[in-house]
Protein backbone atom coordinates (compact mmCIF):
# COMPACT_ATOMS: atom_id res chain seq x y z
CA UNK A 1 0.00 0.00 0.00
CA UNK A 2 2.54 2.53 1.08
CA UNK A 3 4.90 1.31 -1.63
CA UNK A 4 2.36 1.78 -4.36
CA UNK A 5 1.50 5.22 -3.00
CA UNK A 6 5.17 6.13 -3.11
CA UNK A 7 5.34 4.93 -6.67
CA UNK A 8 2.34 7.04 -7.55
CA UNK A 9 4.05 10.09 -6.12
CA UNK A 10 7.23 9.22 -7.98
CA UNK A 11 5.31 8.70 -11.22
CA UNK A 12 3.59 12.06 -10.78
CA UNK A 13 6.96 13.74 -10.27
CA UNK A 14 8.49 12.00 -13.29
CA UNK A 15 5.49 13.04 -15.37
CA UNK A 16 5.75 16.65 -14.20
CA UNK A 17 9.44 16.70 -15.13
CA UNK A 18 8.77 15.28 -18.58
CA UNK A 19 5.83 17.58 -19.28
CA UNK A 20 7.44 20.83 -18.23
CA UNK A 21 10.53 22.03 -20.06
CA UNK A 22 11.74 24.05 -17.09
CA UNK A 23 10.55 22.95 -13.67
CA UNK A 24 11.74 23.91 -10.22
CA UNK A 25 11.03 21.88 -7.10
CA UNK A 26 11.26 24.31 -4.22
CA UNK A 27 10.22 25.09 -0.68
CA UNK A 28 7.30 27.51 -0.82
CA UNK A 29 6.08 29.29 -3.92
CA UNK A 30 7.76 31.74 -6.30
CA UNK A 31 5.88 34.58 -4.54
CA UNK A 32 6.67 33.28 -1.06
CA UNK A 33 9.77 31.11 -1.05
CA UNK A 34 10.13 29.38 2.31
CA UNK A 35 13.91 28.99 2.18
CA UNK A 36 16.80 31.23 1.16
CA UNK A 37 18.15 28.69 -1.32
CA UNK A 38 14.82 28.45 -3.10
CA UNK A 39 14.55 32.24 -3.07
CA UNK A 40 17.96 32.66 -4.72
CA UNK A 41 17.17 30.09 -7.38
CA UNK A 42 13.85 31.77 -8.18
CA UNK A 43 15.63 35.13 -8.35
CA UNK A 44 18.05 33.78 -10.97
CA UNK A 45 15.24 32.38 -13.12
CA UNK A 46 13.20 35.55 -12.80
CA UNK A 47 16.19 37.77 -13.59
CA UNK A 48 16.43 35.96 -16.93
CA UNK A 49 12.69 36.23 -17.49
CA UNK A 50 12.59 32.49 -17.98
CA UNK A 51 9.18 30.83 -17.92
CA UNK A 52 9.11 27.90 -15.55
CA UNK A 53 6.84 25.59 -13.63
CA UNK A 54 7.25 25.39 -9.87
CA UNK A 55 6.32 22.69 -7.40
CA UNK A 56 6.21 23.31 -3.67
CA UNK A 57 7.60 20.24 -1.90
CA UNK A 58 6.45 21.28 1.55
CA UNK A 59 2.78 20.23 1.58
CA UNK A 60 3.61 16.50 1.37
CA UNK A 61 6.92 15.06 2.65
CA UNK A 62 6.64 12.24 0.14
CA UNK A 63 7.28 14.68 -2.71
CA UNK A 64 10.72 15.54 -1.38
CA UNK A 65 11.52 11.94 -0.53
CA UNK A 66 10.50 10.55 -3.90
CA UNK A 67 12.06 13.42 -5.82
CA UNK A 68 15.43 12.81 -4.15
CA UNK A 69 15.19 9.10 -4.86
CA UNK A 70 14.40 9.80 -8.49
CA UNK A 71 17.05 12.48 -9.00
CA UNK A 72 19.75 11.12 -6.68
CA UNK A 73 20.06 14.62 -5.26
CA UNK A 74 19.59 15.23 -1.55
CA UNK A 75 18.60 18.86 -1.28
CA UNK A 76 15.90 21.30 -2.36
CA UNK A 77 15.64 23.27 -4.63
CA UNK A 78 16.16 21.17 -7.76
CA UNK A 79 15.95 22.63 -11.23
CA UNK A 80 15.24 20.48 -14.28
CA UNK A 81 15.54 21.67 -17.86
CA UNK A 82 14.42 19.39 -20.65
CA UNK A 83 14.09 16.50 -18.24
CA UNK A 84 17.67 16.83 -16.96
CA UNK A 85 18.67 17.75 -13.43
CA UNK A 86 20.62 20.99 -13.70
CA UNK A 87 21.32 21.19 -10.00
CA UNK A 88 20.47 23.01 -6.82
CA UNK A 89 20.93 26.60 -5.75
CA UNK A 90 24.73 26.58 -5.90
CA UNK A 91 24.91 25.26 -9.45
CA UNK A 92 22.02 27.36 -10.74
CA UNK A 93 23.52 30.54 -9.26
CA UNK A 94 26.97 29.70 -10.60
CA UNK A 95 25.50 29.06 -14.05
CA UNK A 96 23.46 32.26 -13.85
CA UNK A 97 26.60 34.27 -13.18
CA UNK A 98 28.59 32.62 -15.96
CA UNK A 99 25.80 32.96 -18.52
CA UNK A 100 25.43 29.20 -18.84
CA UNK A 101 21.95 29.25 -17.35
CA UNK A 102 20.59 31.54 -20.07
CA UNK A 103 22.17 29.22 -22.60
CA UNK A 104 20.67 26.12 -21.00
CA UNK A 105 17.28 27.80 -21.00
CA UNK A 106 17.59 28.67 -24.68
CA UNK A 107 17.51 32.41 -23.92
CA UNK A 108 17.53 35.19 -25.00
CA UNK A 109 15.63 33.98 -28.02
CA UNK A 110 12.70 33.28 -25.71
CA UNK A 111 11.50 30.33 -27.71
CA UNK A 112 10.08 28.79 -24.55
CA UNK A 113 7.43 31.46 -24.12
CA UNK A 114 5.24 29.92 -26.77
CA UNK A 115 4.47 26.40 -27.77
CA UNK A 116 5.64 25.16 -24.42
CA UNK A 117 5.27 21.45 -23.93
CA UNK A 118 2.69 21.76 -21.18
CA UNK A 119 -1.00 22.18 -21.75
CA UNK A 120 -1.21 24.28 -18.63
CA UNK A 121 -3.69 21.92 -17.08
CA UNK A 122 -1.27 19.28 -15.93
CA UNK A 123 -2.13 18.33 -12.39
CA UNK A 124 -1.07 14.72 -12.30
CA UNK A 125 -2.96 12.70 -9.73
CA UNK A 126 -3.08 15.42 -7.13
CA UNK A 127 0.26 14.61 -5.52
CA UNK A 128 2.24 17.21 -7.34
CA UNK A 129 0.58 20.57 -7.61
CA UNK A 130 2.23 22.51 -10.36
CA UNK A 131 2.20 26.22 -10.46
CA UNK A 132 2.66 26.73 -14.14
CA UNK A 133 4.69 29.71 -15.34
CA UNK A 134 5.09 28.56 -18.88
Amino acid sequence: MSTSESNQVRDAIAQAISENHTILFMKGTPEAPACGFSARTIAALQALGAPFAAVDVLPDPRIRQELSTLSDWPTIPQLFIGGELIGGCDIVCEMYESGELAQALGLPEGQATEGAPSDGEAQPSGFVQIENRL
Partner: protein, 76 residues
Protein backbone atom coordinates in the same frame (compact mmCIF):
# COMPACT_ATOMS: atom_id res chain seq x y z
CA UNK B 1 26.96 18.04 15.39
CA UNK B 2 29.74 18.00 12.78
CA UNK B 3 32.44 20.64 12.93
CA UNK B 4 34.05 22.56 10.10
CA UNK B 5 37.25 20.59 10.63
CA UNK B 6 35.43 17.26 10.60
CA UNK B 7 33.62 18.06 7.36
CA UNK B 8 36.87 19.14 5.76
CA UNK B 9 38.62 15.94 6.81
CA UNK B 10 35.80 13.71 5.67
CA UNK B 11 35.75 15.29 2.22
CA UNK B 12 39.52 15.16 1.89
CA UNK B 13 39.75 11.54 2.95
CA UNK B 14 36.82 10.39 0.80
CA UNK B 15 37.96 12.03 -2.43
CA UNK B 16 41.58 11.22 -3.24
CA UNK B 17 43.70 14.32 -3.66
CA UNK B 18 40.88 16.69 -2.70
CA UNK B 19 41.36 19.95 -0.87
CA UNK B 20 38.39 21.38 0.96
CA UNK B 21 37.83 24.77 2.48
CA UNK B 22 34.84 24.69 4.78
CA UNK B 23 33.12 27.48 6.66
CA UNK B 24 30.18 27.64 8.99
CA UNK B 25 28.48 30.60 7.43
CA UNK B 26 25.77 31.20 9.99
CA UNK B 27 27.86 30.34 13.03
CA UNK B 28 25.10 27.96 14.07
CA UNK B 29 26.99 24.74 13.39
CA UNK B 30 24.56 23.41 10.80
CA UNK B 31 24.89 25.57 7.67
CA UNK B 32 28.17 24.97 5.92
CA UNK B 33 29.79 26.16 2.74
CA UNK B 34 32.58 24.19 1.13
CA UNK B 35 34.88 24.83 -1.78
CA UNK B 36 36.32 21.53 -2.93
CA UNK B 37 39.21 21.29 -5.35
CA UNK B 38 39.96 17.86 -6.75
CA UNK B 39 41.45 16.43 -9.92
CA UNK B 40 38.90 13.63 -9.51
CA UNK B 41 36.19 16.07 -10.66
CA UNK B 42 37.69 16.33 -14.13
CA UNK B 43 35.40 15.10 -16.85
CA UNK B 44 32.34 15.11 -14.60
CA UNK B 45 29.38 17.44 -14.79
CA UNK B 46 28.72 19.84 -11.91
CA UNK B 47 25.83 17.65 -10.80
CA UNK B 48 28.12 14.61 -10.67
CA UNK B 49 30.80 16.60 -8.82
CA UNK B 50 28.34 17.74 -6.17
CA UNK B 51 26.92 14.21 -5.86
CA UNK B 52 30.41 12.90 -5.05
CA UNK B 53 30.54 15.27 -2.10
CA UNK B 54 26.94 14.81 -0.98
CA UNK B 55 27.38 11.04 -0.99
CA UNK B 56 30.02 11.31 1.73
CA UNK B 57 27.40 12.64 4.13
CA UNK B 58 24.33 10.68 3.03
CA UNK B 59 21.33 11.30 5.23
CA UNK B 60 23.24 13.82 7.36
CA UNK B 61 22.46 16.34 4.60
CA UNK B 62 19.11 17.78 5.58
CA UNK B 63 19.60 16.32 9.06
CA UNK B 64 22.42 17.48 11.35
CA UNK B 65 23.96 19.24 8.36
CA UNK B 66 21.04 21.45 7.49
CA UNK B 67 22.76 22.86 4.44
CA UNK B 68 26.03 22.22 2.66
CA UNK B 69 26.55 24.79 -0.01
CA UNK B 70 29.13 23.61 -2.55
CA UNK B 71 31.53 24.98 -5.05
CA UNK B 72 33.54 22.33 -6.84
CA UNK B 73 36.51 22.82 -9.13
CA UNK B 74 39.30 20.76 -10.64
CA UNK B 75 42.00 23.28 -9.78
CA UNK B 76 42.45 26.80 -8.41
Amino acid sequence: MPTVEEIKQRIESAIPGARAEVEDYTGGGDHFRATVTAAAFAGRSRVEQHRLVYEIFGAEIGGPIHALSLKTQTED
